[in-house]
Symmetry: C2
Subunit: 454 residues, 2 copies
Amino acid sequence: MSDETVKYLLPENRIPKSWYNIVADLPQMPEPVLHPGTKQPVGPADLEPLFPMAIIEQEVATERDIEIPEPVRDVYKQWRPAPLYRARRLEKALGTTAKIFYKYEGVSPSGSHKPNTSVAQAFYNKEAGIKKLTTETGAGQWGCSLAFAASLFGLEVDVYMVKVSYGQKPYRRALMETYGARCVASPSTETNAGRKILEEDPENRGSLGIAISEAVELAAQRDDTKYALGSVLNHVLLHQTVIGIEAMEQMEMADADADVVIGCAGGGSNFGGIAFPYIGRNLREGKNTRIVAVEPAACPTLTRGTFAYDFGDTAQLTPLTKMHTLGASFMPPGFHAGGLRYHGMSPLVSHCKELGLMDAVSYNQVECFSAAVQFAQAEGIVPAPESSHAVKAAIAEALDAKEKGEERTILFCLSGHGHFDMQAYTDFFEGKLEDKTYDEALLQEALSKLPNVG
Amino acid sequence: MSDETVKYLLPENRIPKSWYNIVADLPQMPEPVLHPGTKQPVGPADLEPLFPMAIIEQEVATERDIEIPEPVRDVYKQWRPAPLYRARRLEKALGTTAKIFYKYEGVSPSGSHKPNTSVAQAFYNKEAGIKKLTTETGAGQWGCSLAFAASLFGLEVDVYMVKVSYGQKPYRRALMETYGARCVASPSTETNAGRKILEEDPENRGSLGIAISEAVELAAQRDDTKYALGSVLNHVLLHQTVIGIEAMEQMEMADADADVVIGCAGGGSNFGGIAFPYIGRNLREGKNTRIVAVEPAACPTLTRGTFAYDFGDTAQLTPLTKMHTLGASFMPPGFHAGGLRYHGMSPLVSHCKELGLMDAVSYNQVECFSAAVQFAQAEGIVPAPESSHAVKAAIAEALDAKEKGEERTILFCLSGHGHFDMQAYTDFFEGKLEDKTYDEALLQEALSKLPNVG
């Protein structure tokens, strides 16, 4: 009849007590963050207009284990520890010799891994006496997750949502508003950055880079307001390591160990979350677990970008970080995995890639949706378009193992469910979904505009 | 800082081994089901065109505990035992002296309690050699849940979806199709029932009663095809009792006992699921736990309907059951809790109401959405519009306890999340949501057409 459901669930007291900081184990420190004006390394004071000191300290921390405050663990309890499943039905459908495990982060109230960091950020800001957070969001997963966390800690939130998504994803917007956040289409007339862009191009449909500029500009102006980012930065990836820490313990429960660990990568947060504890174990214990980041072929930061200093935003308000980038002025084509549509990549993930500690692959969206449908019919969970990239890579690994007659243990992060993304599935079924190609000339132009540093 | 998250999670081996059959404890048997033609009590053979024998046996079973087959418990493992939460943050927001607990069924892959029965129904049909299931769906929760279960057991599914919802809820339809089901707008030209209605009224926008007629008609025609219903019938409510059985054990973990148990009621399935184990305990142990069904004021089956024999569908193809009904030809006004928009009520729930074993209240949709937003901002979970009725009633109980200075322990079933229903929240925020009133003349006309039995 049905094949066995195999779920590994940790008890509540196994929610990690510390986040894992990969910097402590790296053979070489990442390059420093530079001030956008002076191009000299930033100090904590430079970041204070944007973040509370506790978060700045985490951004530059070098100790391996960083304690998770009790009030944060307490909120985590609502959905953590998140389940780890063995995909027995999918294995059977593929006829593979491989074992496939997935860590499911869609059990959070906003349906993705993002609350792992939004709860921590809301907590530290509340502790610092902050009243309001500003942020940007693309497809809306991050905006919803910050709005959720802020509602629990009694903080106001203004979300600058990429205008094209604001129109296309009214339901994510409604979720933010349900949590009490204010959602503004970006570019807006509320900021200098937004007004400047609208003057030049009243029809501008926005980008993550523009929305970041707006959110950063407003946070910097007020003492009671700070900025929150949902990916890319060190402290964000730090908070996400609960994914990998739990998964490693659950794999032990399953009496298995991963040969390959897979995560989709946009800014790098769920990828870093599942991968960093495994990269750290490789480094400390001389293990050889393969680590694979999966990105969209239409926005291939790790596989086609340059490793260089760049801005995180369009208006060049953010500090400069050394990362894989397609150039801050690069505009990726529209595709459904909005959470992977960013020109840059986490500096820590980029650094690991440069050090040869991980691989990266890219896939087109049609093959990813096809994999997601196969997964849903076997496992019952509908992946978010972002997560479908990890699903595709896991299936490719399983089929490769089958072809080679190898046993192989595959672990991937299913970072969120697709209940808010069913239009994408509708397009897929109606044959309207097309693979998108970035504009090579645009990429070269964006890369030629990278800031000249050092 | 944040108030404590209190979650009670049972280990996997505490998934119930049996469903609870309330018939065993009732002081009086419910009235028999009648054949639509002869108006004589039906026997198993009369139901065979629609259901496999294992389900027919459950429909008429009188023993208290009915074993859950291992393959069904195995699929339940994917999300069960479902969590029970204490709503500490909501209690604080209300300033109430009451304790509020909620059993959360939105953790299933389709986001509601419906898979508790769809998995069982898919299993029994597969065991009986059935190839295809037909069913109806309104807002789509049931259709998605049956499609999910059928995909795991390798059954085909044809879902007749109320035409107005088919247009308004394309994302639920996309979810059904992702699970491999075929979704047809009802009334359709695929059935005699559908064609007849379209001939009389080509613009007919459908109803649950019509969609049931279509699904039943097709199932009855083919030996390899059976019909599956998502609510109302005894076996469906039986399967849902895992909700209440688990909740009762979790309340013991919390060292608490419910003074009042609340569920929203459309056809009665999540309500019966949480309430029947408590009604049974009242009967067996002489306890006095209050049981409250909550229905929409615009479709007030229990509070304004007649207790009489009626058809479950419009074309009068179903057997006659004695239940609270607004009349099979009654057309409720459009409101957002599509899952509560049905003219009838579970015969078992109706019987309990007639025996004085439970109460019923009704609320309008605007006050329910207002309660749902307050709940989401305190507890982080966005309720489905149907579930918002239970939330509203729980808040009303908590405020009543506060006014009276009473300690009171409230348990309610949060039957699903609202991630597919954000248009309703958008309408609420934009002030477009209005309370709907049913047409009293229409109700009287529908009641006057009740079949003349005995």
